[in-house]
């Protein structure tokens, strides 16, 4: 039997009403809200079998993949959009979107980064994502041994370039856009695509299977420790365009890779749809770290505009001792619907999920994880920190399932919610299914508000109100921030502060 792990945070009385005043406009504070003026080629608006065929043709895909897409599309037509999440958003008109948009300059696939449209390169430079090799991400300058990060940059529907490909190839690592992988490594794609998230999985994953335009592909061969961090940077630029990217990561026996994902979009008055799928296959003794900083445009303070983010992410720990770690910092999007999952199939497999979800103004987030324990002695750990401010709603939704055969397994879950202001909501919806007795499952959750004594202390040290809140919130998120790779940790910390700007009176 396990001890009661429930804890109640130190909550102190005496609320200073002023400190938790309603949220001010955050509009104008989204750093990445600008747009790149670039000629864009669109597929006709709306979704039909022809559009699916067109996307497939644009990517120069083989017959099997086209059929795979078409089967998904047929299936999708019969599916109903899920509405069980605690999200309130208007009906999405799937015909009022572009499903394919690419910069005209990408009509001829550039052979190397040097040939890429300077406008695109400038876009990524402005975002702080250097597409030139040897350059470094912010925060690590001055290190004796410069850390390299390979980047696959996805702009609307296409990948504009991937850095360090040659160097990675030397180690045997394949890192390229998924459209390229379909052409260059069809056997790998065919073997693994849809094997973790089948095309029939759920409404949004099925939609993605039909219309995904690009994304990243990673293969790390047996025993290889990927020599650098890999990253994909997603940018939505075109108006009324949905982004449907698909990421497939295969980490072979004993291999290791750390993967980072970042996303931004311009400020627009209309909502934009983003429905991605990430599949990760982890074989025996392999390990994958997947970190996300999601900073899609969240809409203005009244909920106008912003990205609708419906993402299916799943890692399948197929081999014994396979390990996966999801870390996510969710600060953007008007709507977030995302549950990165771990299938712990191999014996002694491990899954970890660290999450910070911040919802401010009119944002709504329904996010969490699924830990499915199938193998013996599998372990999982969930640390979720939800922060709500303004009129935002933030929900943690998670599943921990111990199958009868998952003997001697272990789960520990901690969900903490922090409320800033009295107009927002914080919710916890965990599902706990324990079907054997040798496994131990512990879940605890707390909800509290920003501690006034801590704020007061920071203020007495000369910090202004916003700095103080940022510091306290960063402290609240500490366990998750520590799980991030260094490059991201820096970005995430400042992002936490920016996302909460204006949330105190």
């Amino acid at each position: 039997m396990t001890a009661i792990l429930e804890t109640t945070p130190d909550l102190r009385e005496g609320v200073d009403r002023e400190t938790i005043e309603t949220v001010q406009a955050m509009a104008g504070k989204y750093k990445y809200g600008w747009e790149t003026e670039i000629e864009t080629e669109y597929a006709p608006k709306g979704l039909s079998e022809d559009i699916v065929r067109l996307i497939s043709q644009k990517n120069g895909e083989p017959e099997w993949l086209l059929n795979w897409r078409l089967a998904a599309y047929q299936r999708w037509l019969k599916m109903e959009e899920p509405r069980w999440a605690m999200l309130n958003y208007p009906e999405i008109d799937y015909q009022d979107q572009y499903y394919y948009a690419k910069p005209k300059s990408m009509a001829q696939k550039p052979k190397s980064l040097d040939e890429v449209d300077p406008k695109l390169l400038a876009t990524y430079a402005k975002l702080g994502i250097p597409l030139k090799e040897q350059m470094l991400l912010a925060g690590v300058e001055g290190e004796a041994e410069p850390r390299k990060v390979a980047v696959d940059a996805v702009f609307d529907s296409v990948s504009v370039g991937t850095t360090f490909k040659a160097e990675l190839a030397k180690a045997g690592v394949i890192f390229c856009s998924i459209s390229e992988a379909v052409r260059e490594h069809p056997e790998l794609v065919k073997q693994y695509l849809g094997s973790v998230v089948p095309p029939t999985d759920n409404f949004f994953a099925t939609l993605n299977s039909a219309v995904f335009s690009d994304g990243s592909f990673v293969y790390v061969p047996p025993g290889v420790r990927c020599p650098m961090e890999l990253s994909t940077y997603f940018r939505i630029n075109a108006e009324n365009t949905g982004q449907f990217e698909r990421t497939l990561i295969v980490c072979d026996e004993g291999a290791y890779v750390s993967y980072l994902e970042g996303c931004t979009a311009p400020k627009r008055d209309t909502h934009q749809l983003h429905a991605a799928v990430v599949e990760i296959v982890i074989l025996k003794d392999a390990e994958v770290k997947y970190s996300t900083v999601q900073n899609w445009y969240p809409g203005d303070e009244n909920g106008k505009g912003g990205i609708f983010n419906f993402v299916t992410k799943r890692a399948d720990c197929r081999g014994d001792r396979a390990k996966v770690m999801w870390t996510q910092v969710e600060t953007g999007s008007a709507i977030t619907w995302k549950y990165p999952s771990c299938i712990l199939r191999g014996d002694d497999a491990q899954g970890e999920f660290y999450s910070i979800a911040i919802a401010n103004n009119a944002q709504q987030a329904d996010t969490g994880t699924k830990m499915v324990h199938l193998g013996k002695r599998t372990k999982s750990r969930i640390v979720s920190k939800g922060i709500s401010a303004g009129r935002a709603q933030n929900t943690y939704r998670g599943l921990v399932s111990m199958h009868p055969k998952a003997k001697d397994s272990r789960n520990y879950t901690q969900c903490d919610s922090l409320l800033i202001g009295d107009k927002c909501g914080a919710h916890t919806v965990p599902y706990i299914e324990v079907r054997n007795n040798s496994s131990r499952v512990e879940h605890e959750a707390t909800t509290s508000k920003v501690d006034d004594d801590q704020l007061f202390y920071c203020r007495s040290r000369g910090m202004d109100e916003e700095e103080a809140v940022a510091l306290v919130v960063n402290g609240f998120c500490k366990e998750v921030l520590q799980a991030l790779p260094m490059e991201f940790a820096m970005e995430a910390q400042s992002l936490v502060a920016i996302s909460l700007e204006g949330s105190v009176g």
């Binding site: 039997m1 009661i4 409320l419 909501g425 599902y431 324990v434 054997n436 499952v441 959750a445 707390t446």
Partner: protein, 431 residues
């Protein structure tokens, strides 16, 4: 939205087995409204969010599945020797001979059937009213079905401190009895009542208890569901609490094929207090489901949910608990713990402990754990000379203690502890 066919069909099949509604008076009107609610929601199916862990089939079935009588005379009946007013129901029908005279200082007790035909009655403001309030946001079709088709029950109006506890005793005789009981309790400001319930009731038992606790009133509720019985039961408690009022409810369940206990409590006045606790022990074919929904709609209220389950030989325990803190319900103190002790490989625990919070100055927490008995503790006790079985029983009782502690009356708590000890001595894991 049109009702899914499966829910509609289940409802029509169930209603076909029940008499058509008739009669006049306030009760007939309340029944009609309940039927309209039920028509809109249908009966539950496995796909429903709040039925994913419990199969409603045997509750939906037009006929009650057979349940044999169980002779529990090897121990004294619960609350034996207590000074109490006994109200006895046999297979869901009031038995005036076995019951005490229904007069009690500070309390008026009437049978539903008799009071229902009157033109005006206080229960009009309670019967079906709290049930209807409890239908959102989560539909509870069996409660609406109960309101529409309850065949008996008592209406208890408490105007002062009740002279002694009211004890509802449910006797089971017929192997196919299908009982639907509906009780209402209304406590006036400052009034106080202890309500005791025990017995298996019927082969299939549906019960709704609606409780209105006015400002400053106190309601104590202790229930022992028939031991080692094969019954199927779906019970609901709907309670609305006023300012500085208090409700304490404890339920002991020792076996039973299927038991779904729902509690829906609404704290509507400041500084109200609701404590709900349950201890369930199950051996073999046992499915026990606690579904609790507590709404904090006023400032500075306190709620506690303490639910413990001990499961063996393939028993299943379910806990679905929710704390909803409405906007403005500042200074809420909400606590919820659900724990299961799985004594063997075959048993399972399925839990969904939820928080939904719309106020920031609150203290809410929940914890849920599940696991086997602590081998180290067991070893320690054995090393002290305790037989393994005794050591295990001791640890199980210690595990259940937090729930039993919620009972204010020490004598009752002690009696329940002793009953659990005897039960554990009779039941054990294989091998």
């Amino acid at each position: 939205m049109a009702l899914p066919k499966a829910k509609e069909d289940a409802l029509q099949a169930r209603l076909a087995g029940l008499p058509a509604l008739s009669g006049k008076g306030w009760l007939a009107a309340a029944r009609g409204e309940a039927l309209a609610r039920l028509d809109a929601m249908g009966l539950p199916v496995r796909r429903d969010e709040y039925w994913r862990y419990t199969d409603p089939a045997s509750l939906n079935a037009p006929e009650a599945p057979v349940a044999h009588r169980f002779d529990a005379s090897d121990e004294a009946p619960p609350f034996d020797g207590m000074d109490r007013l006994k109200v006895v129901f046999v297979d869901g029908v009031f038995d005036p001979k076995a019951s005490d005279d229904l007069t009690l200082a500070g309390v008026t007790i009437e049978r539903l059937a008799e009071a229902g035909s009157k033109d005006i009655h206080w229960a009009q403001g309670t019967y079906g009213i709290l049930e209807a309030r409890g239908q959102t946001p989560v539909a509870r079709p069996f409660a609406a079905l109960n309101t529409a088709h309850a065949t008996d029950g008592v209406l208890i109006h408490v105007t002062a401190r009740a002279a002694k506890p009211v004890s509802l005793i449910y006797v089971h005789q017929s192997e196919t009895s299908d009982a639907i009981l509906h009780h209402c309790v209304k406590l006036d400001p400052g009034a106080e009542l202890t309500l005791l319930e025990n017995g298996p009731a019927a082969a299939r038992f549906s019960k709704v208890l609606e409780v209105e606790v006015a400002d400053g009133a106190r309601f104590h509720h202790i229930r022992l569901q028939g031991r080692d019985h094969e019954r199927r039961a779906v019970t609901h408690v709907f309670a609305r609490l006023g300012t500085r009022s208090e409700m304490r409810s404890f339920t002991l369940t020792a076996n039973g094929r299927l038991t779904r206990n729902e509690a829906v409590v609404e704290l509507t006045g400041t500084e109200g207090r609701a404590h709900l606790a349950g201890a369930a022990v199950g051996d073999g074919e046992f499915h026990h489901d606690d579904t609790v929904f507590i709404t904090h709609a006023a400032e500075a209220c306190e709620s506690r949910q303490v639910f413990k389950k001990v499961l063996m030989n393939g028993a299943t325990g379910v806990f679905q608990g929710k704390i909803l803190v409405k906007p403005g319900a500042q200074k809420t103190d909400g606590y919820q713990i659900s724990q299961s002790l799985l004594l063997d490989e075959d048993s399972q625990f399925l839990a969904k402990p939820e928080l939904e919070i719309y106020a920031d100055d609150v203290k809410c927490s929940h914890g849920s754990t599940s696991g086997a008995i602590d081998e180290t503790a067991l070893f320690y006790l054995q090393s002290r000379g305790l037989p393994r079985r005794t050591a295990q029983a001791l640890l199980v009782l210690a595990f259940l203690a937090e729930a039993i502690q919620e009972i204010a009356d020490e004598d009752i708590a002690e009696d329940i502890r002793a009953r659990l000890e005897r039960w554990l001595a009779r039941h054990g894991t294989k091998g």
